[in-house]
């Protein structure tokens, strides 16, 4: 479980996050949603320590990230997997070497075991057979999946995904979402996903945090999100007239 306590973040004099208090649970896909520019990426970067918060605390199962020494942080990071918005695969290495990289760096297992683990992870994301390709020979969706394989290679306890399905078609997005959600449940990981994809919100959002202009505006599950009566949340989720109509129908259906 990750607990965020009174988190503030500003760049120079520009306040980006204010007073964020929330919890991200074990074995659940926790979503952070919000408009472009609302501060999702900044919040995630604070969570993993790529940005220093201006104020507040971030607790990883009780261990305070903001109070850790460099060494403790490095150790904590070995329990973290992260999928970047841009995939961030090492382009000088093959897909297999990419997935093996964290194992080569930190695992004490033999080469054969490490290779097997990497191949297993690639299989898990349906990339069996692509292991000797280079990242630039893969499609965007395959790169995302390869990056997921690399993120889970070390069996992390915490998994962070920044917009895992931005730039992907709806079908591939569903595949990625399902993958993230399955991996979370299989290994009882605390997963945090940044998204503005409504299919993901409805599909895998077990715990949804809605951020509006840097403030926490709503929190709940995908069951509650449809019926919540928070104006800004509804304006965001049901942005088009079509989806507004859909919402009316759903609510009418439930009532009837």
């Amino acid at each position: 479980m990750i607990t965020v306590d009174k988190l503030y973040k500003s760049f120079d004099d520009r306040q980006v996050l204010s007073d964020i208090n929330t919890e991200f649970h074990n074995g659940k896909t926790n979503l952070i949603i919000g408009q472009s520019g609302s501060g999702k990426t900044v919040l995630m970067n604070c969570l993993v320590g790529l940005h220093e918060p201006s104020q507040g605390h971030i607790l990883y199962d009780g261990r305070d990230l903001t109070a850790m020494s460099k060494r403790e942080r490095t150790l904590l990071r070995r329990e973290i997997g992260m999928l970047f918005q841009s995939s961030a695969l090492f382009d000088s290495m093959t897909v297999l070497d990419n997935v093996m990289f964290p194992l080569d760096m930190f695992s004490t297992k033999s080469y054969k075991e490490r290779r097997e683990r990497a191949l297993h992870c690639l299989d898990r994301v349906n990339l069996g057979g692509a292991e000797s390709k280079y990242p630039n020979e893969l499609s965007g969706g395959m790169q995302k999946r390869a990056a997921i394989a690399r993120a889970i290679a070390m069996e992390p306890r915490y998994l962070f995904c920044d917009e895992p399905n931005s730039g992907l078609d709806p079908k591939t997005s569903l595949v990625i979402d399902k993958l993230i959600s399955d991996i979370t449940h299989e290994n009882n990981i605390t997963t945090v996903v940044n998204t503005h994809d409504m299919n993901s919100v409805i599909g895998i959002g077990e715990n949804i945090l809605f951020i509006d202009k840097g403030h926490k505006a709503w929190q709940g599950s995908n069951k509650e999100v449809l019926t919540a009566d928070n104006k800004r949340l509804n304006d965001f989720i049901f942005a088009s007239d079509f989806s507004k109509q859909l919402r009316q129908d759903i609510i009418a259906n439930m009532a009837g």
């Binding site: 993993v48 990289f101 080569d104």
Partner: protein, 248 residues
Amino acid sequence: MYIIKFLQSFGEYLLLMGRSFQKPERFKMFLRKYYQEVMALGVNSIGIVLLISLFIGAVICIQMKLNIQSAWMPTWVSGYTTREIMLLEFSSAIMCLILAGKVGSNIASELGTMRVTQQIDALEIMGVNSASYLILPKITALVSIIPVLVTFSVAAGIAGAYCTAYFADIITPSDLTLGLQHQFTQWFFWMGVIKSLFFAFIIASVSSYYGYTVRGGSIEVGKASTNAVVSSSVLILFSDIFLTKMLS
């Protein structure tokens, strides 16, 4: 204003070097990376070093013989000066200036691209000291391979001088040999090697600094690559003066 900016960059540079010179997490991974860098930065530069040194050696010999040497000078003058110019300046300082262009821009653009595509962030998130993993092998590789390049450069320069003797009849081979062997001071060779070690460190570390600290996108990567070449060239020229004075 400029002074504050300079001091700030210099401080950042020192901090980055501090992070780079830390014990590698896995020695095996370091060796693998070191080997790759020796290939990429050193072995891949042998061709250009040989080519340029060969031509410069030939041209110096021609200039000396046709434009400098006159009747009252001993016959060994051309060979002697060619050798000393190669040993004292060309094969160390000038060759490193050329390498600053080739290797420096390579290092800065590679690290800069890794920075803007978040590959460096990915390393950090895994708990890898990205500075030490990426920069230390580059510095050690270039510093350890540069004496080889210097030696190749001197040899190619002398070969170039012999080309003017055998193929162009500018100078007789025996005059050239006499000159090349005249009052040979071994220390001059070591001086070139020692200077080149410093220059190699400047090229690798300064270019790494510019690449590693890129903020922004592809335009900034291009700028960083230019800055890396300009700054390391200027630093090589400055330090050359001090090193030459100190080692002479």
